[in-house]
Symmetry: D2
């Protein structure tokens, strides 16, 4: 065969591949199977000072109600155009509820949480159990739990929602159902029933109903703060507790299993003591962070952001991440898809040892 | 063969069995493999009003120190003569420490806990971490943890110890080591380091060292009481929480695994609302209870005891147990060998439905 | 505000969203969170009679070697244009190796298997252990195991490869490494070392090294066939064994853990007795099947395919699937992403009860 | 107080302890909590050449039937007088069934197996599934499975039974029920139904009923032998497989869970190549061994036994054990209580490194 003939034969072969819905590996292998993860998602920053006013404007212009369901505005990673995804697996949004507003009940396969960077006065009813939302609290909505929110005050309130929408969409695994149009309850107790049963350290209530996901659905700031404070105090006293010098972390867990509070999303609160710089770490899997208090600097690969309260940033898979803070110290909430990788045997972490 | 010959042959056979260290099943089967458990251990009651004065007299007459190691007086089940066992698997003792006394450090395979029915002022140092002991607290000493106790006050203090000594002895699994003769620490903090790290509901400290047993070694009465109170309040409000009408229970668990706080001993606190009578229940495995507060009546098979604060009673395997209380209500601490049976696939429970 | 003003304000808001890399939920919710899975992937059929000649033509025109690495031609789902994915999580390809050809060593995060519908004479060396490939065999290449193939005969051989390439790509979790250019071994034993250690029913070799994935990497047709035959014989004798009348199934499992042979891919062989029609079943998650023997009819939603030996078809998430066969009976190999959904708590199955 | 007064006071105290069913720890601690396990059980040997004739004589003198249930003669450890226990947890017996004899159906909590050192022709029906017993086979009877045995031949047959009778007795956990007086089946298939479903390496039958214990109840000698042979051949070829030089081991496992075939008893077959001497090993927990083939020498602490086919020996907890064999090689079946210790966190092993 001449080179020309061969080229023609190859062209015919490739045309026949296409007609037969086939694709050769040898032309694609390099892009499909990279030497290390090459995410389309990019490091990205969303400033609270931008987000919050836009949410406020939405509050004036867009009603909350059946259909759209929530006044939530999602972080759209610039590397994933056409999507509303913060990372390939994680959804993050600011949700905004005006005075007296109600977001109606629904339930879905997608796992959700809310984290409150400021404000209070909204209750989220989860399967009819009213859960107060206050600054610093993490509130869970495990998959297929009916939930609805209502603002009991004269002031608007905004918070962030985290979900595994992109993962569930990619896996074609999602089911969704509308709930009743009227609120299940207007009660506004300080503590939800699930907290009263499950919110005692190391104590299992024998009479509590079995649940497929975390029975504790509210993690209050007072406990989170106390735990982080204790870790840094123990460090001062010379005892173990911090993950690295000046860096305290708690992970939110299901008290009935001691595993991650949510099956597909890891949730953690980090505290950096003033003057701390973390080791640079790469993790397979992506994360979204929100600054809860203080100020600091985030380095993700080549990107460098100065961040302050409410700012959110996305960390793509295997991107090197370093956090630091000067005088103020830094409290930051992190959520990630780590449990997915651990469950599938795909987890990998690399920690650069700091140079002297 | 004549009958006489046959009998003689059989006698020779049995003699030859014995000489060869053999025993036929057919003469023993009925006793070895009973239709239901037939424990040698019997229901038994030990009154605090008897125990405590005897412990006090020991305080005057018997020194604490290296060798005997502890001034502990064990409940000896009348059905297990020659032993110091409360049940075939469980050891229970009252331990007594006079003003300023010290019980020296040692460690052992045997799993231990202390439960405090009254008093305060003793610290138990577990692996050098000083743990305060106060009324209502459960304090753990998992296997092979060095521990020592010292009374920091001018008053004596007594509490109960629970261990799996009989089980470990029967299994020939025990190792024992003396520790240093001098106290690891004389510090008397209100909260131990393990509590500061692990004593926050649903929060895992990422920087805490991994441990083979529960990292939380003190369960404080304030949490236990709050959890039981909440269960009964939820019952009043019409929500799940109690195990049966008027009966609240919390189980002490390892926050790192959500399993029993100790690998071989289950620990629980029960609260009966005034006027409650429990369903009659049989459990394979044995238990020891101590009344913590209130008064009540205990029925174990044919036995019936009126009990009050500090009284201890042993419940043999498969014995029907019913607790009741009149006006006072009843708080009772229970420990059992349930985790052993669950781990070995031998657990079985029968609950008699109450007649109308 | 007039309607015109409002519309203008809303347009400005949406423009500001876009500029800030934000997307509102309320315009997307319906598409993102559907009432049931709505896969982009569609039911699809690839005929062996088309695939194999194309693979042969590739054998003439495309060399095997470093870079492209494998002469593998992937099934590209028509619903996922621009990809080489059979389903959103699964890769399936026909691989072709001519007489004496070698496919060089590499390793990758992606989990792989080969299944042989016809032929023999290729050995795949997995971490240096030579594994024969013969009709009916399933051969594993767990993640990060070096592997290479070589054809020891004068005849070409083709088989199918299954991998989790789409899943790992979507999760940005893949690592890839080239191995040595020369074959690790040219040995051609009938049984690999891993089979000699682990291929005995119910027997664990105590001296075998620990492995993070299945230590058994070859499942031979003689065992698969015997197991399926036994299930149908037991059905004839009136005993349990089949999953439904006339339908026998074996799942390939890791003998060290009894879980799926691969962490992200389920592998099974199905046998339908002549005249059998399965219940219609929907599963969350996708699958690819290959007919191994016999003929039958596949119904996937509205699609209906008559299939014969070697034909492959893809079943999207939640699509109703029915298999039937007339006189010939049907043996079919199935692989799916079920373990992913089970690990993440997303599994759901619906089985339509057959009408009378 | 004078010394005399003090002594008198102490005597009164001790008398009062006894009257109150109390025992002080300080007089008992050393015996209860030893520095290392000090078993009452002793190393012991029972020769097949003694056992078998005694079993034969029993066959002439003692009928099999309801009540005694089995013609089984138990090994009674000389260190545990008054019991029929081989070790504190394990029962081991020779069972003997004459031509045409039947041992009637019963079931019990106690876990059992049979191991056949010689002969054939008895079928054990386990839940109505007839299981052939042949030389080298291990046959299981998990707890609460009805079982009965019948000898289908003109020759008597003897084998060993292993059970956890002492453990279950100590734990007061046993239930026992008589079954029907007539055999469930007289069928004598070569392979039981459970083997036909579950006896294929790495293959799970999807339609098989779920069972709480191993669904595979027969482990055939041909597989055991092949697995051991392969390990030694791999050693010859320079590959991993043996646990130490010349020493091959397979453990019998539940194919549905990959854990020990029985929940409370570990079962293994060991093979020593001619000229092998094992490392000296101590294990917390006890074991009973039976020589299956060849001859060898057993050292247990100070004891030394030359053993041959059928000989049984008991190894107490923590006793140093060494096996060796000269020209003949040695095959030996081992059963132990290891799973109990592993489940309870009490396992400990010490392996003496061989001196040069």
């Amino acid at each position: 065969m001449t080179i020309t003939d061969e080229r023609a034969a190859l062209e015919r072969l490739y045309a026949d591949f296409e007609a037969a819905h086939l694709t050769p590996l040898w032309t694609q292998r390099e892009g499909l199977m990279t030497q290390a993860p090459q995410p389309d998602a990019v490091p990205a920053l969303w400033r609270w000072s931008v987000l919050h006013p836009l949410a406020e404007r939405s509050g004036d212009l867009v009603p909350v109600g059946r259909g759209g369901e929530r006044r939530a505005i999602a972080l759209a990673n610039p590397g994933l155009p056409g999507t509303a995804y913060a990372t390939p697996t994680l959804w993050a949004a600011i949700q905004y509820l005006g005075p007296g507003e109600e977001a109606p009940a629904h339930r879905h396969t997608q796992t959700a949480f809310r984290f409150v960077v400021e404000g209070e006065g909204v209750w989220t009813n989860v399967e009819g159990d009213p859960v107060a939302m206050r600054r610093g609290d993490l509130l869970l909505t495990p998959g297929m739990h009916f939930h609805e929110h209502h603002n009991t005050t004269e002031r608007p309130m905004a918070w962030i929602d985290g979900l595994d929408i992109p993962l569930v969409r990619q896996l074609d695994a999602g089911f969704f159902e509308f709930g009743p149009d009227r609120l299940a309850t207007r009660a506004t107790p300080a503590a939800s029933r699930n907290e009263r049963l499950w919110g005692h350290p190391g104590l299992r209530p024998l009479g509590a109903p079995a649940t497929p996901s975390s029975p504790l659905m509210a993690y209050r700031w007072e406990h989170t703060d106390a735990a982080l404070t204790a870790q840094l105090e123990l460090e001062d006293e010379g005892y173990p507790g911090v993950v690295e010098p000046g860096h305290a972390v708690v992970r939110f867990t299901d008290p009935a299993t001691a595993r991650d509070a949510l099956s597909t999303i890891r949730t953690e609160m980090h505290r950096l003591r003033p003057g701390t710089r973390t080791a640079t770490t790469r993790v397979v899997g992506s994360a979204v962070w929100q600054v809860f208090d203080g100020t600091g600097t985030v380095e993700i690969g080549d990107q460098r952001y100065d961040v302050t309260k409410g700012d959110l940033f996305a960390v793509p898979s295997w991107a090197p991440l370093t956090l630091s803070t000067a005088d103020s110290g830094l409290d930051a909430f992190r959520f990630s898809d780590d449990p997915v990788y651990e469950a599938l045997g795909l987890a990998r972490t690399h920690r650069e040892e700091p140079s002297a």
